[in-house]
Subunit: 560 residues, 2 copies
C-alpha cells in the first residue's frame, strides 16, 4: 500500500475510464477533482473463449485502491452485470456509499447477499431528477429507457462544467413501463451548456431507430394464440419489461406462468416487491405443477437463452429435464440477443429443440427481441440536445468508438474535441480545454473460483497448451552422483492419445528417453536442468514427427 500523502492532488477535472472502452463489458469510469473521486458503474465481463476456466473478468482498480480514502461514492446507471457485476470484488477493497435507483440497488443487494457483503455497504436509493452531492461533485439522475427498467443517465456537475454520462440507453417512445427517456432534462443541460458527453456506442453501426420494446409484446400476441402446446419463453431475467410482456401475453391466452432458473425467480421477486412487475392474481404457478397442467395452459419463462450448457433450457433441449419433455406442438421463443461469441452454441440449442419436435422463434426469424441500445438517429438526437463541447464515446468495442466519434463530427462536434479514449487514459479538462493528458495503470483481472487475479497470462497459456494436445509426464529417478537411472522412466499422459490403445507408443517413448540418457555424459546426466531440457527436446521432436502433436511435456527428475 502506497502512503496516501505521497499521492498528488491533480489539477482540473480528470475522467479515467477503467473499463468498457474498447470492449463490451466491465464498464467503470472515475471522475477526479482535487481530493474527490466518484466512480460511475462497476461492471464485469464474462470470459472470452480463450480465457480458459475463468469465471469473470473485472477491471484492475489499482489506481482506485491507492486513493481509497478519496472515493466519495459509486454511482450506478442500471442493474446489468456489465455495470454492477464487479461490485462484490471491488467492495472488498473500497467501501464508499452506492447510489442508484430502487431496482438497480435491489439487484445489487441480492448480489451482495451471495457474497456475504450485505449490511456492510451503504446503499442510497435515488430517484430520477434527484441530485446527490458527493465531495465537490453533484450528480443528477436522468431517466433513460433500456432493456432493464429503472435505468438512468447521470449529469455530473463539476467545477469545470457538467459532464453527461448516458449509461446504456435507447429512446423508446412507447416503453412498457411508461418511463420515457427524459429528453427534457437532457435539453435543459444542453441549454445551460455541457462540457462533455459520454455516450453509449453499442449500436452505432445500426442505422435509423431501435424498435420499441412494445414490438416484442405484439410479436408475443401474434405467436401465443397459434401455439397448440406448451410455450417456453427464454429471456434475460433482468429484462423485467420482457417478463411483463410474456406474463401479459400468457394471461390473455389463459395460460399459467411458471418461472424457471435461479436468477429468474430471484429477479422477478425483487421486481414485484418493488412494484416494477405486475402479475395478475392466480396466474403464477409453481414449477412442480408442470406435469399436471394441460399443455395449452403452460407458459414457462426461463433463463438459458444463450444456450448455457448447464441451464435447464439446454437440458430441456437435450431431453434431459425431469419435469418437461418437449413434443410436437410445443413452442420455444428465444427472446434475447444472440450475444457475439455465443452464436454457435445458440444455433446448436435451436437444432436440438427442433429435434425434440418444437417450433422455435428467435431474433433472426421473428421480432421476438429488440435491442436496448440507441441506433444512429437516437445517438444524433442526444448529441443535438446536449450540444456538448467535448464528446467521449464509451461502451463499445474500438470500432464502435471510432464510428461514434465520426457520428458526433457529422452533427457538428469538431474533430479535435471528439476524444477517442481507451481504458486507462486520463482525460483532463481545465478552463474549457480538454484532451487525453496521461495514462494510469489498468487492465483486466481474471477471477477463477475464489481466486482474484492469481490466474495470469502464464497460467492461461499453459491451459491453452494443455487443451490442444494434452500433457505427457515423464518421471525418472537418477542417482545424483553416479548418474545411474534408479527408477523409470515412467510415462503418463492425459488428453494426448488413447491410453488403453497406445501402450506400445508410450513404451517407445520410454525407450527414447532411456536412449537419450544413455547418450549423455555423467556430468550432463547429473544436471537436472540439462536432463529436463534434453528430454523435452527429444520428445518434442519424436511426438511431432510421429503423430504431429505438441503436448505439454513435463519431465520430473527425482533427487535420489
Amino acid at each position: 500500500m502506497i502512503e496516501q500523502d505521497t499521492i498528488s492532488t491533480p489539477a482540473g477535472l480528470r475522467i479515467i475510464p477503467l473499463g468498457g472502452l474498447g470492449e463490451i463489458g466491465l464498464n467503470m469510469a472515475l471522475f477526479e477533482y482535487g481530493d474527490d473521486i466518484i466512480v460511475v458503474d462497476c461492471g464485469l465481463m464474462f470470459p472470452e473463449p480463450h480465457m480458459l476456466g475463468i469465471d469473470f473478468v473485472i477491471p484492475d482498480i489499482a489506481y482506485l485502491r491507492e486513493r481509497a480514502d478519496r472515493v466519495r461514492g459509486i454511482f450506478l446507471t442500471h442493474g446489468h452485470e456489465d455495470h454492477i457485476g464487479a461490485l462484490p470484488f471491488v467492495l472488498q477493497e473500497i467501501s464508499p456509499p452506492l447510489y442508484g435507483t430502487a431496482l438497480t440497488l435491489g439487484f445489487v443487494r441480492e448480489k451482495l447477499k451471495e457474497f456475504d457483503l450485505d449490511g456492510y455497504v451503504d446503499l442510497e436509493v435515488v430517484k430520477p431528477r434527484e441530485t446527490v452531492a458527493a465531495g465537490t461533485f453533484e450528480v443528477e439522475f436522468i431517466r433513460v429507457s433500456h432493456s432493464i427498467v429503472d435505468g438512468c443517465a447521470l449529469a455530473i456537475r463539476t467545477p469545470e462544467g457538467v459532464v453527461i454520462h448516458t449509461g446504456d440507453f435507447k429512446i423508446d417512445h412507447t416503453p412498457v413501463d411508461g418511463e420515457l427517456t427524459d429528453l427534457a432534462t437532457f435539453a435543459r443541460y444542453g441549454t445551460e451548456g455541457v462540457l462533455a458527453l459520454m455516450a453509449d456506442s453499442t449500436n452505432v453501426e445500426r442505422e435509423g431507430f431501435t424498435l420499441s420494446e412494445r414490438v416484442v409484446g405484439e410479436a408475443f400476441d401474434e405467436i401465443f394464440p397459434r401455439c397448440p402446446g406448451r410455450i417456453i419463453v427464454a429471456a434475460f431475467s433482468s429484462n423485467i419489461q420482457r417478463v411483463q410482456q410474456a406474463v401479459d401475453a400468457a394471461a390473455r391466452c389463459g395460460r399459467k406462468v411458471l418461472l424457471n432458473g435461479r436468477s429468474m425467480v430471484a429477479n422477478v421477486a425483487i421486481a414485484r416487491q418493488l412494484g416494477y412487475l405486475r402479475i395478475p392474481d392466480g396466474i403464477l404457478t409453481d414449477l412442480k405443477e408442470l406435469p399436471r397442467l394441460p399443455k395449452e395452459e403452460v407458459c414457462m419463462i426461463t433463463t438459458g437463452s444463450q444456450g448455457e450448457p448447464m441451464s435447464s433450457l439446454a437440458r430441456i433441449a437435450m431431453d434431459d429435464h425431469k419435469q418437461i419433455k418437449l413434443e410436437q406442438g410445443d413452442t420455444v421463443i428465444l427472446s434475447s440477443r444472440f450475444i457475439p461469441g455465443n452464436e454457435k452454441t445458440i444455433s446448436d440449442l435451436i437444432n436440438h429443440l427442433y429435434r425434440r419436435g418444437a417450433e422455435v422463434y428467435h431474433e433472426k426469424v421473428s421480432e421476438v427481441h429488440v435491442s436496448g441500445h440507441a441506433s444512429q438517429e437516437e445517438l444524433k438526437l442526444i448529441l443535438n440536445l446536449v450540444k456538448p463541447r467535448f464528446f467521449i464515446p464509451v461502451h463499445g468495442e474500438y470500432r464502435h468508438l471510432v464510428k461514434h466519434a465520426r457520428l458526433a463530427q457529422m452533427v457538428g462536434v469538431p474533430a479535435e474535441r471528439c476524444l477517442l479514449a481507451v481504458n486507462g487514459d486520463v482525460i483532463s479538462f481545465r478552463d474549457e480545454r480538454g484532451g487525453i493528458a496521461d495514462r494510469v495503470e489498468t487492465g483486466r483481472v481474471f477471477i477463477d473460483g475464489k481466486g482474484i487475479g492469481d490466474v495470469g497470462e502464464v497460467v492461461l497459456k499453459d491451459r491453452k497448451h494443455l487443451s490442444e494436445d494434452g500433457m505427457v509426464v515423464v518421471i525418472i529417478a537418477i542417482n545424483q552422483y553416479t548418474g545411474e537411472v534408479i527408477y523409470g522412466p515412467d510415462v503418463v499422459s492425459r488428453g494426448f492419445v488413447f491410453e488403453d490403445e497406445s501402450q506400445e507408443y508410450l513404451d517407445e517413448t520410454k525407450k527414447i528417453v532411456l536412449d537419450t540418457l544413455a547418450g549423455m555424459t555423467i556430468e550432463a546426466r547429473t544436471d537436472w536442468g540439462e536432463v529436463k531440457q534434453e528430454v523435452r527436446r527429444v520428445l518434442r521432436r519424436f511426438f511431432n514427427k510421429t503423430i504431429e502433436r505438441r503436448p505439454v511435456i513435463l519431465p520430473l527428475i527425482l533427487d535420489m
Copy 2:
C-alpha cells in the same frame, strides 16, 4: 475386416448419407444398388471449439470400408473443403476413380500432392451435360452456380428412377464466369420424372433470392476509387470469381495485385492454368515488391478473412507483419461470410484493424459479400422444375432440414414423401415406394495431427478438464512392504495457479497429502489404487474449498 461375401446384397435403391445432414460440413452420401455403390462428395468439417486440439473432422466410413470392392466411383459436385476435404483420408482405405469437373479435380490434385497420394488415384474430368456410367448407375453432371466456379449438380439414373442431387448451388442470372445454373436440364429431368430430389438447405431460412455475385464487383468498384491508401481484400482462395472481381477492380484503378497466403497463391495458379481466371498482363506483382510500391497502387488479395490467428491478415492487424504496416488511409475489405462460430474472432480482427487506423468493410456494413447458396424462392423454383416424387433435404443443420421439408410441402410434395433423414439413415426406394428403412453405423472421426481416430471422447474430455483448471501432479514413492514414504510428496502444477507466487499454497498441498498418508493403515498405504483414490479425494476437496478450482489431479505412486 469382415469377409466381403458375408455382406448381403440389398434390394432396391439405398441412399445413405454419411455426413452433412444435421450439420454444415463433411458432406458425403452413398448410393447403393445390388453390388454397386457410388459416393457423392467426401468432405471434412473444421473442428468446433469444444473439439480441443482437433485439426479436422471427417465422416466415419465403416460402412464403406466393409464394401470397398463395390465402390464404383466418387462423384464430386465442387471443390470446397466440405465436399472434397476428407479425400486424402478416405483414399487411404478405398481407391475408386474420382469424377469431377476440371477445377474441382485441379483442387483435389493439389490436396493429394500434400499427402503424397498424387499418382495413385484415377481422376476423371467430366464436363457439364456429360454422363458417366459407374456400375448400374449413370451420372450426368449439371452446371450450377455457387461461390466456387465449375460446380455441378448430379442426375443419378438408377434402376428405381432418377435421383437429382443439387450439390451446393444458387441461381445466379448474371454470374461472373457466365456459367448459368442449367435450369433447362433440371426441367428436362422434371418432365421425364424424377424419383427423388436431394437439395442444399443452407439458406432455407432466407426469404427471396440470393444476390448475384456481380453485386460484389459493383461494391468493389464503388469502394476502390475512394481509397487513398492500400487496399487489402480478404476472401476464400477457392472463390475464384471473387478473386477475378477484385483483380478487375484493381486493374480499373491502376493498382497492382499482390497475392498473399499459401492457398491463395496455389488456387490462383491452378485456376489460371485451367483458364478459369484471367489476370491482365503486368498487374500481378510479387509480395516482395510491396515496400517499394506507392500506397495508392497496392491491392493485396489475401486469405485470413476468418481472423485465423496465424494468418498474415491477423498479423497485419496486430502490427506484427514484416512487409506491411497499416496506416490511416488504408482499407481492408473482408469479402466473405462471418462463418458461425467465428464471429467474435472476426470482430476482434476488425477492432485491431481500426486500431491500426484502417477503414474496414465487411458483410454486415456493405455488400462486399454475397452467399453462394439458394434462398427460399430459388429452392422453390428447383422443386417446381424437378417435380420430384420424394424430397430429401440435405446440406444443413437439423432446423434447416425441417424448414426445407416444410418448403417442399408448400410447393406440393406430400408430407409423407418429404424424408427427413439424418446421417446413417438408410433411405430405401423400391417400386416407386420409399422411406427410411434402416440405419448403419456412422459418426465423426477426429483427426489430430497424423492421428486418425485415436482422439476419442475420453481424450477430448481430459483436454477440456485440463483447459479449465489445469493439472496438479503429485509424486510419492512408497515402500511397498512397510508403507513408508521414501520420496516426496512432490507437487507440480501447470495451468492451475501462479507457480512463482504460490509456493506456500503448494507446500500446504504437500502437507495435506502427508497427513492423509499418515492417517491410513499400512494395508491401505501399500495399495496404490487406494492411495491414489484417497489423495485425489482429499485434494479435490481442499482445492474446491480453498480456491474453488477443480484441476485434473494426477497422483503418481512410485514402486520402490
